[in-house]
Symmetry: D2
Subunit: 374 residues, 4 copies
C-alpha cells in the first residue's frame, strides 16, 4: 500500500525545503509563467492554492473583474482556504480580465456568465486557455478532457479556429469522478446504461453559494443544470475524436442530483449496465489495475493510482477519503449486483480539486508533457 | 390549500384545552389503556410523545429492561424529545418487559435483539402487540401494515396462532414513505421496477446511534440490513392476502442506502417502471387525488392528505416538509422522465413519526375503527 | 410541571378547530387588523407565521419593497418556514412600504437600512409601529420593551413627538434572553456587572445570511455590531422611565459574540456580580418564582413561566429547549459560583421568536391589554 | 509572511522523498524506537498518524487492551484518520498494555480509567512515559509540560520516585491553547485573573464520543470535569519548580465549557486582568514577538511561531486556522478592551494535535534535545 498523508505532521519541512524537493524531482525545467482568470472567486483561490510551489508552473498574473484590478490580491480576495495565502501571490497586483495579459497560459475560473466571451477573446489573441467553465465544453473542436480518460482528444486542438490560441475544458465536478470510475469498465466490458444519484458537497455551489439556513440539517434535492450536465458530458468524454469530430459514446444516462451538508467531496450512488456479462471480481480487477497516461508520464499532479477501491462496506466517505492523493484520486466502494441494471457501487471524488482546479492543472500538465505548452 | 402548523404559535392553548378539543372531536369514547414496550429508548420516547393527549389511547404502562423496572420513568429515561416529558407519564413506575402487564394493547419499541421472543410471549398471553420491530414482519400470518396501503391485510389476524393475542407490524422507516408514494401508482398504472437511493436521517439509527465524528461533514454510504429491507418489504406491502397467505407483488427493486447529516426525515431519489405507458400529468394526478381508508375513517393520526405533491423544483426538503401534518404526510416532488426507467421523483417522510411510532399508532387506530381493538 | 408540546401529535385538530379554540378563549374581541412591513424577509415571514390564527390580531396588509408590490405574497416570498404558508395570507397582494396603508398597527421587520425613515414616516402619519429594527431603540421617547422586564416604559409613549402615531421597539435577539434571565436577579439582589459570551444561531443573520461554507464545522468569533448592542441595551431595559427620560441602569457589561452552526436558539454563558451577597439557592428561587405582567394579564403569546430553570447539568440546549412554550420561554441552567464575579449560568432563548417577531407581538399584546391599541 | 500549507498540492512527493527530506534535515540521528499505549483509540491513532515519518522517533510497539493483543494493528483498529494507515504500522502485531514492552519510550494515549496504574507500572519498570492522560498531571514530581511555556519544569524529573523511569504529562486540550496564548502576557505584564468560555470540538470527547443526535444543530453547555481542569492546570503550568516543589501561580480562573458542532479545533473567548496597565499595542507585540525554547532548539514538531495573531476581526476560525503549522500553532485574534477585566480576545488551537498527541510528541522532542531521552 502506498502512503502519502495530506494533513500530515511534517513540521520540519518549510516551504523552501518543499520547493527544493520539487526542484530535485523536476530539475531541469524553467517554470512556465501562468495566469488565473477569475482569481478572486472560490475556484480561482483553489487554483492559487494548488499552483503554489508547482514544479512546472509559476503564477505571474491574477486577473479578475475591473473592480479588483489595480489592487494587491491580498486586499481584494476574501481568502477562504485553510492554508495561508502565499506572500508572493498576495502581493501581486490584480489585473483586469479584459486587459492584455503577459503570459500565454491562462487557467480560467471565470463564472459561466462571462467565460464564453472572455475565454474566446483570449484564445483569439493566442493564449492557451485551460478552462473550468462550462461554456466551451461542447464546442465541436474543444476537448472536454480528463487525462486518465480521453487524452487523445487533445488531437482536436490542431483543428481549433483560434489561431495560435487554444481552449481546453474539464468537465463538471459531478461528472469527473464518475467518469474516471467508469473508464476502466468501458474499456474492459463496454458500457450501456448509467443511473446515478449524487450527494454533492456545498463547495460545488461556490461562495457564498448555499445559505447555511438551507444547508444545515437538510438535503436540497435539486441543483440547477447539474442533471443535464451529468447526462451529457460522459458521452463526449467516453466518446472518441475521429480526426474531425467528437463522436459521442451511445450511453443512456439518468442522473438525480442532491445537495447535502458536506463541505467537500461529491458522493454518488451509481448503477451500470455493461455491454457483456462479467463477474464481480472482474469489475473489481478493472479498477484495481487501472493506470493511464498521467501515471505513465508521471505528471506532477497525477495520483499514483487514479482509482482506489475500498473493500470495507462503509467506505468511501467524503471526510475520510476526499483528500486521498491530494484530492486527485477517485475512491470507489460497495460494488454489488443491481437488481435492475448489472452492478451498483459508490464513487467519491474531491469536487474542487479533482473536479475543478486540480483537474484543470492536470490537463495543463498533460499538454506540457505532450509539447503543446512550452 | 390546507393548513396545519406544527411549530405553530398557539401560546394560549395549554394542555387541558387541547385535550378538551380532542374530546369534543371524539366525544363518547372511554380511552383504551395501552402500554409501551421498550419505553426508554428513542422510539419508545416517540411513542410517549405522540400518545400524550391521544383521544383514544391512554398510556398506563411503561415497560423496559429489568434495570429500569421499579423506578419512576422520569428517573430512568434520558429524555431527548424537544417537548417536555408529560408529568403524568414521568411519574409512572416502569415495569419489566418480562412481567405480566395489565393492559391488552402494547406498542412495541423493542430492540430487534429481544423483540422476537418478548412480542411472541405477550401475544401468546393474549395481548395485541403493535410492533415497530422487524422480527415478525415476514411471519406468514402477521400483517406488515400501512393503513393507506394495505388495510385489508388485517384479515390475516384471524389466522394468527397466538390465541386471543395478535401481532401487527409496520415497515422499516425507509420503506414506509416510498411505498405510500408508490401505492397510487401501483393502483392506477401497475408497477414493475423500483430503483431507489436513500439519504437517511441520523435518528433512524437510534440513540446514541451514529457518532458525531462520523456524521458531521460526511455521508456514510452504508446502513446495515437496510437495502435488504427496502428490496423485500414493498413486495409484501403491495402484495395481497389471499385468505390464507400473503402473495408478494412481482416487483424488481434495487436499493442503495446512505446516511446523511440530517436529524429527521428520510429523502429518497426514486425511479420507477410502470406496467403501462402514462403521461406525467397522470402520475401527478394519481398523487394529488390519493386518499385512502384512514382518511375516510377520519382516524385521529391520519393526515388529511397522505401525499403532498410539490411543484417547486427544490422541494421537498427534510427541514421544510418533514413535519407536514404532524409528520404523518409523505411529500413528493421533482417528477420527471427517467432515461432508464419511466419516471423519477423525490420522496420525503418523517422517519421516526410516519416511519416508526406514528405509523404504529395509525395501525392501532385502524384496528380500533375496525373493531379489532376495543 | 406544566406541559405544552410544540411538535405535538394533534393530527385531528385542523385549523378551523384551533381558531375556534382561540375564539373560545378570547371570545368577545373583534380582531384588530394589522400590517407587516418587510413581510418577505425572514423576520417578516416569522411575523406571518406567528400571527396566523392569532386571537387578537389579523394580518390584513403585507408591505415590502416596490419590486414585490402589486403581486400576491405567495409569488414573491421565498417561504422558508417549516409550516405551510397559510392560504389567506399567500393570496394577499403585497403593497409598497412607501404607500399609505389601511391599518393602524404595523409590525416592522424592516432592514435597519430603511427602517429609520420608513418607521418614522408611518408614525408621523398616525400608525402604531411595533418594530424589531434597531434604529429607534435609543430614541429618547421610544421604549425598548420586554413586557416581563420593563412594561412601565410604555409610559414614555405619551411624550412621543409623532402625533397619534407611536413607535415601540424590542431589543436585539441576543439581549432579550439574557435580560429576561437577569430581571429577577436585578429585582431581588441588584446587579452590577455582567460578562457574557454568546453562541448565536445562524438564523440571527437573516436569509441568506451566513454562507454554509462559513458555517459548517466552524465557529465565527465575530458578529458585526452585536457586542455593542449587548453592552448597551440592557442598561436601558433594566433602567427606568422617570416621566421625562429613560435613566440607564449603572451596569458594567462585557460581551463577546460568536456564531455557531445552530439553526435557531442563542446560547449564552453569563457571569454576574450582584449588589449584595446571596446564596445560590436564593438565585435559583428568584428564577423559579418569577412571573410578571404578561403572565398576570394572560396575554396570548405570554409563556406561562417566562423562565424555566433546569437542574440537569447538560441543559439547556438549543435543540431541546428552544421551542419551550412556543419559543417564548427563556431557559436557564448550570448555576454555579464564578471565581471572578459572583455567579455564572447558561441562558438559552429562541432568537427569531422570543428575540424578534414573538417579542414584538407580545409588545403589541401588552399595548392592547393596556388600552394603547384598540 | 511565513507559509506552510497543510492540505497542499504536493502530489509528486511520496513518502520516500518526504522521509529523505527529514533525514537531510536531521541527518545523523539513529531513530529512537517508541511505543504507543492505547494505540487503537482516537488519541492513539493520532499518535500513529503524527509519528509516521518522524525524523527522531520510530513506532516499534503498539499496545492496547488484551482483546486486541496478538493481532495485526490493521485488523483491530477502526482507522478514522483522513490519511491512510501506513503499511508498516498496520502490520505491527498489537501487544498487551500489561506485557513487558521492548522500547524505553512510551507515548500514553490510555484512558484515564486505566492510565494511573499502567503508566506508573511502566515508569517503575524504567520506561519513560510521555502521557496525554490526566492522572499524573498533579503528581508532585511530574511535570505538566508545554515546551513553549514551562520547559524548565523538566528539572523535576530527577526527583521522581520511579527509578530509571519517568512520567511527563501534557495538559488538557482546552488548557493548552489558552496557556500558550497567556504565556507571553504573563512574562511581560504579569497575570491575575482569567475568565474563559470555551466552544470545544467534538473530537475532544473521543470516539464514538458525542452522539450525532446531540451534536447537530446544537450546543451542549457542559463537559464533565473540563471546567475544573481549566481552572487548575494553568496555575501549575504558569507556576514554577523551586527545586523541590511545583509552586502554583496565584491566578484566579473562571471557566465555562461548551461543546459545539465542530470536528476539530477548540475556540475560546478569554478575558484577562493583567498585573500592570499596558496598552493594546503592547499586548499585540507580546504575541507577535513570542518565541520560546522549542523554536530556538528547532524541534521537529515545533511551529515556527507558536502564536499567530490575526488582525481580521472575523478570525481565527476553527476550519480556517486549526491546521496552521500542522496543527501545532495557536491562533489569537480579536484583541480588545474588556469592560470588566482588562483585555479580551479569542484563542484557537487544534485539540487533538497541539492539545493532545502533537503536544506530547513535542514534549518528547524537548527531552531528546535536553539529553533526557537518548
Amino acid at each position: 500500500m502506498y502512503f502519502y498523508a495530506v494533513n500530515l505532521y511534517i513540521p520540519a519541512i518549510r516551504k523552501k525545503e518543499r520547493v527544493n524537493e520539487m526542484n530535485r524531482k523536476y530539475p531541469s525545467r524553467t517554470k512556465i509563467p501562468v495566469g488565473i482568470l477569475g482569481a478572486t472567486g472560490s475556484v480561482g483561490q483553489k487554483f492559487v492554492q494548488l499552483l503554489s510551489g508547482h514544479p512546472w508552473f509559476e503564477v505571474k498574473v491574477l486577473a479578475a473583474s475591473h473592480r479588483s484590478a489595480g489592487k494587491p490580491y491580498r486586499d481584494v480576495v476574501n481568502w477562504l482556504q485553510n492554508t495561508p495565502l502565499p506572500d508572493e501571490i498576495g502581493n501581486l497586483i490584480v489585473q483586469s480580465a479584459n486587459a492584455d495579459l503577459p503570459v500565454q497560459v491562462l487557467f480560467s475560473a471565470l463564472d459561466a456568465k462571462v467565460a464564453e466571451t472572455v475565454e474566446k477573446t483570449f484564445a483569439d489573441k493566442g493564449h492557451i486557455v485551460i478552462s473550468n467553465a462550462r461554456n466551451h465544453r461542447f464546442h465541436p473542436q474543444v476537448p472536454l478532457l480528463i487525462p486518465e480518460v480521453n487524452p487523445d482528444h487533445l488531437a482536436a486542438l490542431k483543428t481549433q479556429p483560434f489561431g495560435q490560441g487554444k481552449i481546453v475544458t474539464n468537465p463538471n465536478c459531478s461528472t469527473t469522478g464518475m467518469v474516471i470510475a467508469l473508464k476502466p469498465l468501458m474499456d474492459a466490458f463496454g458500457l450501456e446504461k448509467i443511473h446515478v444519484v449524487t450527494m454533492q458537497a456545498l463547495s460545488g455551489a461556490g461562495y457564498p453559494g448555499v445559505s447555511s439556513l438551507d444547508a444545515l440539517d437538510n438535503v436540497i434535492p435539486y441543483i440547477s443544470g447539474e442533471e443535464e450536465k451529468m447526462e451529457r458530458e460522459p458521452k463526449k468524454l467516453l466518446g472518441r475524436w475521429d480526426g474531425e469530430h467528437f463522436v459521442e459514446a451511445p450511453l443512456t444516462i439518468s442522473a438525480s442530483c442532491n445537495r447535502v451538508p458536506v463541505l467537500e467531496g461529491h458522493l454518488e450512488s451509481v448503477s451500470v449496465k455493461l455491454a457483456k456479462p462479467v463477474n464481480k471480481e472482474a469489475v473489481r480487477e478493472a479498477w484495481l489495475n487501472f493506470k493511464s497516461i498521467p501515471q505513465k508520464l508521471n505528471l506532477p499532479s497525477a495520483p499514483s493510482r487514479p482509482i482506489h477501491y475500498f473493500e470495507q462496506e462503509h467506505l468511501p466517505q467524503p471526510r475520510l477519503q476526499r483528500n486521498l492523493e491530494n484530492g486527485m484520486a477517485v475512491s470507489v466502494g460497495r460494488l454489488r449486483s443491481c437488481a435492475i441494471l448489472d452492478y451498483k457501487f459508490t464513487v467519491l471524488s474531491h469536487n474542487t480539486i479533482r473536479g475543478a482546479a486540480g483537474g484543470a492543472i492536470l490537463n495543463a500538465e498533460l499538454m506540457v508533457a505532450k509539447g503543446m505548452i512550452k
